[in-house]
């Protein structure tokens, strides 16, 4: 997508895709900070979607990360320590789901 820095060379030849879902406060400054994490950490993103989560005052940010599990976990950890983030889910291409541990 435009506006996101090009992916850095990936460690494996064909990195798996991971879908990351972040539940976070529906506040502009929190959302701004969340996008900042993606830009700042220079990670390869393929899609980015923001929706109301269904819970009042909460949004769901989802994106597809073209990276291996280690990189996906690293990104999840950066989100997890962000104030205003409520949970982070990493969905691997084999449909296994993990909640980022802290």
């Amino acid at each position: 997508m435009s506006g996101v820095a090009p992916p850095s060379p990936s460690p494996s030849p064909s990195p798996a895709a991971h879908t990351v879902a972040v539940l976070l406060d529906d506040a502009l400054v929190t959302l701004n900070r969340a996008f900042g994490v993606l830009r700042r950490r220079n990670v390869p993103i393929e899609g980015l979607a923001l929706h109301p989560s269904g819970t009042a005052g909460e949004s769901r940010l989802t994106f597809v990360l073209k990276a291996d599990a280690v990189t996906a976990d690293r990104v999840a950890q950066q989100f997890h320590k962000m104030i205003g983030v409520r949970s982070v889910m990493v969905l691997a291409n084999d449909d296994s789901t993990t909640e980022a541990k802290r």
């Binding site: 406060d25 400054v29 701004n32 900070r33 900042g36 700042r40 280690v70 690293r74 950890q77 950066q78 997890h80 320590k81 104030i83 205003g84 983030v85 409520r86 541990k101 802290r102």
Partner: protein
């Protein structure tokens, strides 16, 4: 009983309630209501800096020396943007700083008003959290929350942006309600398979290791895990490496202390890393100045990484065991879990790597001699604050630190101009101790206007300027990697002795080593600030050096052929 208070008065009260005693700041249009209220709160000592960058660095220095939150205040627009470098430095080095900025009134926000900047947007990536206070009823709670967020977990800077009309708004003020903060969770300790399992695995690795190393960083100082780290080292005989920000976490001169690793680490320290089979890293992030090229870093070692921040484990180097938690708590558990052992052959082996170099200095006026004179004059009992560059590396390698947390420097950001203002903050945190700000002639000139702050506010900082007439570290890189083309690195200095005199500060110049002891002792004994300029060799280099991106196994130990200078 409640009373009618303005936002500005609430701001002052909230700071007092949070235990704040010192504020570094600079007034201006959008923060004037706060400054109007300030004199009614004598518990808040305000230090009027000469540039807002100095306010942020001073708050950072105060925070690092005291372990409490450092507070800085600036107006909107240029005042706020001038804080940015200081906040970035605090962010990189995990220093708890709260910055309060004035903002244009709410109806003017977004209209490109006079002195309006989006300081929230500007500081998003260099703060842990920031707040635009849109409602005066939230102000007291936001301040309390900001102070807590800055300190808790991995510390860092927080910014509170307060529009001028919010500062002027009056409300009936009661005791602040506790704000619901379900989102800010403390970092919980753990490891994959559980905390105890992680500690057991680490203890097993230590037991089986032939060439183990301890690498300790800033996290040990933040957690005050000095006794625990020392107990671990002494129980196991494992030699200890201290990173730039870990310096003084373990006493220099201890038989197990090796020194600083990385780009300017001594050869034997880096060789030890390259030969180690187990590395226990506590409270460090294995940054590139420590590891060199990560692909060739510690090729034989299995790494145990103990850090408060889960996101650091495995970020830069692959780890065998990652343990998330407070350095003091985890190290204490590890001390209990390990069997006593010795590593005498390994330590002896490392000592075999020690190199001596033929350095060239101006006469006998070597960095080592200068630092020894400061150590002697202060009886080994002072805090050293360094700037960034060659002098910073000389201090890191040569100053014999004995007391914990007496070495303060801008490590991650590497901000020139840090030392002088940060030393003012250190003095206010440790009013009974001596503080020396050591700078080069480049960095000193960035914030030397703060001498006026020292005089006006009575801050007896001792300043040492290493004058080589160059931006020395850049010149060294030019010598090694840029065909010795000294582009824009020669730097003119004013007469520092006269400059000090202009500020009514005693100033001294040292040209010969024979003058050192007497002059430095005289400066150290001054009741107020003092400045000493040291005329050092112009083209001295910091050796050894790992080229940027290079391997720790391949240090530069002398000037490359054709590159004259020393």
């Amino acid at each position: 009983m409640s009373e009618m208070l303005s936002g500005a008065e609430i701001l002052c009260r909230a700071l007092v309630d949070a235990g704040v005693e010192v504020i570094f700041g600079y007034p201006g249009g959008a923060i004037m209501p706060f400054y109007h209220a300030l004199p009614d709160h004598p518990r808040l000592r305000h230090i009027l800096v000469r540039h807002e960058q100095a306010a942020a660095h001073a708050a950072d220095g105060y925070a690092r020396a005291s372990g409490r939150v450092g507070v800085c205040v600036a107006t909107s627009g240029p005042g706020a943007t001038n804080l940015v470098t200081g906040l970035a430095a605090a962010h990189m080095d995990n220093s708890p700083v709260v910055a309060i900025t004035g903002q244009v009134s709410r109806p003017m926000i977004g209209r490109d008003a006079f002195q309006e900047t989006d300081i929230i947007g500007i500081t998003l990536p260099i703060t842990k959290q920031n707040y635009l206070v849109q409602d005066v009823t939230e102000l007291a709670e936001v301040v309390a929350e900001a102070m807590a967020v800055a300190l808790e977990g991995r510390p860092g800077p927080v910014l509170i942006d307060v529009p001028k009309d919010v500062q002027n708004q009056k409300i009936e003020y009661g005791a602040p309600r506790a704000r619901a903060r379900g989102q800010s969770r403390p970092l919980t300790p753990g490891a994959s398979g559980g905390l105890e399992d992680g500690v057991r695995k680490a203890a097993r690795l230590i037991a089986g290791a032939e060439r183990p190393l301890l690498m300790v960083g800033h996290g040990v100082i933040l957690a005050q895990a000095y006794a625990e780290v020392r107990a671990l080292a002494e129980k196991t005989g494992i030699p200890v490496i201290t990173t730039l920000l870990g310096i003084s976490a373990f006493p220099d001169g201890h038989p197990l202390h090796l020194g600083m690793p990385g780009m300017h680490g001594e050869v034997h320290v880096n060789r030890a890393i390259q030969n180690a089979d187990v590395i226990i890293g506590i409270g460090l992030r294995f940054d590139d100045r420590v590891t060199g090229n990560t692909a060739s870093f510690a090729p034989q070692a299995r790494i145990v990484h103990i850090d408060l921040d889960r996101a650091e484990i495995g970020k830069n180097v692959p780890v065998a065991v990652g343990i998330v938690g407070d350095a003091r708590d985890i190290t204490r558990r590890l001390v209990a879990a390990v069997e006593p052992r010795r590593c005498e052959r390994w330590v002896e082996h490392i000592h075999g790597f020690v190199r001596t170099r033929a350095e060239s200095y101006r006469g006998d006026l070597s960095p080592e001699a200068i630092l020894a004179s400061i150590y002697e004059a202060s009886h080994g009992d002072c805090t050293i604050v360094t700037d960034v560059g060659q002098h910073q590396m000389w201090v890191a390698k040569l100053y014999p630190y004995q007391r914990p947390n007496t070495h303060i420097t801008s490590g991650g950001l590497g901000a020139m101009g840090f030392a002088v203002p940060a030393a003012m903050g250190v003095h206010l945190a440790r009013p009974n101790g001596t503080v020396w700000a050591i700078s080069g002639d480049g960095g000193f000139q960035m914030n030397m206007a703060e001498m006026a702050t020292m005089v006006q506010e009575g801050l007896p900082v001792k300043m040492a300027v290493f004058n080589n007439g160059y931006l020395g570290m850049v010149r060294q890189w030019q010598q090694f990697f840029h065909e010795k083309r000294y582009s824009c690195t020669p730097i003119w200095s004013p007469d520092y002795v006269k400059l000090a005199e202009a500020y009514s500060i005693p100033g001294y110049r040292v040209k010969e080593a024979s003058e050192l002891a007497e002059v430095v002792a005289r400066a150290n004994a001054q009741p107020g600030p003092a400045l000493v300029e040291f005329m050092i060799e112009q083209e001295a280099n910091v050796y050894p050096m790992i080229p940027p991106g290079g391997s720790l196994s391949e240090p530069i130990e002398a000037a490359p052929a054709g590159a004259a200078g020393d």
